[in-house]
Symmetry: C2
Subunit: 223 residues, 2 copies
């Protein structure tokens, strides 16, 4: 009998009402690490994993999942889109988002979708375990850093909506290598209007070069 088997017995012994968990992350190492970490916990059982949102949906469509732990950045369909679909097709599935991102805008965006937890990859594993525990008890769990960010955004509400929706839309098109003219044609507005938006975007993001703007777009996950 090996250690893993021995371990399984112990786990089962203290396992009263285990919650089934499905993991999504494109980094297999991280996935394995979390699985390994959860193996110590009798309260959860990992029933599956996927390295993309699409594969995760394939599973969730046909299986009942209590808890979904997903990365934000995924190849193809991203974490936000996954959350939206899961909330629709399986409303009882709780979701914990595991992300690198601590930008106010992104955090708020995904919290609006009604996720049960948000933990940063920079946080220790204890935060994740606490989040799982909280979710089991029907609570919402945000890691310390996220709480701090949200409080900050309440204290300085002007920072959060830096760019308007339209400006954001235009910035995305700029990042798609479109010229002002093309953007105007795409959005059915005059090139002059695009220029004005562009000026405002530069002013608001405190950048003066296109390069700086693209960096901003990267930092804010607009690319």
């Amino acid at each position: 009998m090996n250690l893993a088997a021995l371990f399984a017995i112990f786990k089962q012994a203290k396992n009263t009402q285990a919650m089934n968990v499905f993991l999504v992350d494109d980094h297999a190492i991280l996935l394995d690490g979390i699985k390994s970490m959860l193996a110590y916990e009798g309260s959860v059982e990992v029933i599956g994993e996927a390295n993309s949102a699409e594969k995760a949906l394939d599973f969730i469509k046909y299986h009942s999942v209590d808890l979904l732990i997903t990365d934000f950045n995924l190849p193809g369909m991203d974490g936000l889109a996954l959350v939206r679909v899961v909330k629709k097709i399986s409303p009882n599935t709780k979701i914990i988002v595991l992300s690198q991102h601590d930008e106010t805008h992104l955090v708020k965006e995904i919290l609006k979708e009604g996720v049960a937890g948000y933990v940063l990859k920079n946080d220790s594993h204890k935060e994740l375990l606490q989040a799982i525990e909280a979710v089991k008890n029907g609570k919402i769990y945000l890691s310390n850093d996220i709480n701090r960010i949200l409080i900050h955004s309440m204290q300085f509400p002007d920072e959060e909506r830096l760019l308007t929706d339209r400006e954001r839309e235009i910035l995305k098109l700029i990042a798609q290598e479109k010229s002002n003219k093309e953007i105007g044609e795409t959005l059915f507005i005059s090139e002059r209007t695009v220029e004005t938006h562009r000026k405002n975007i530069f002013r608001k993001t405190k950048t003066s070069s296109l390069v700086g703007l693209i960096k901003f777009a990267y930092a804010n996950n607009l690319i």
Copy 2:
């Protein structure tokens, strides 16, 4: 007595010649995951961890480390720089690089420094364990994907040196929001020369807009 304690006893029992390991990654969750994963392995003992290259060096300066497992992307000093310093101050320390990057150029760059292993974060944890096992036996371990990349680069040697050193240097400066004039002043060359390089960079990278170029720079870790 809890499970962890019980586990420690088993570990010690089968522990013959454990290798001490130091981990470096800026994502605490990943760090915790790997630690948890290695806890099953009697052959290695994690003696420390750090979330930055600088902190890792502080430790390595005063302690003997058999194996260093480090991320490539780190805040501040990056993995490549860390490897170089460690190879200098502690030549007997073996190094396994754990990275998201599979760009030929980056992989070759770090392999040149004489690391003992290179595993992608996309690989499963088995690859990492195999790498550790190989390193213990004095071998060099490259994960499957990395091997494939290296073989590909041998088959298509023209792809790897897409940009010359000078062009790379100039691209970095472009990405730092410098104008052609400023770049010329920085490198003590004429603005015209910078223009020529710029043209060549655009041609070689098959991009036509600055935005596309910045994206290329991101993809190739030049930013």
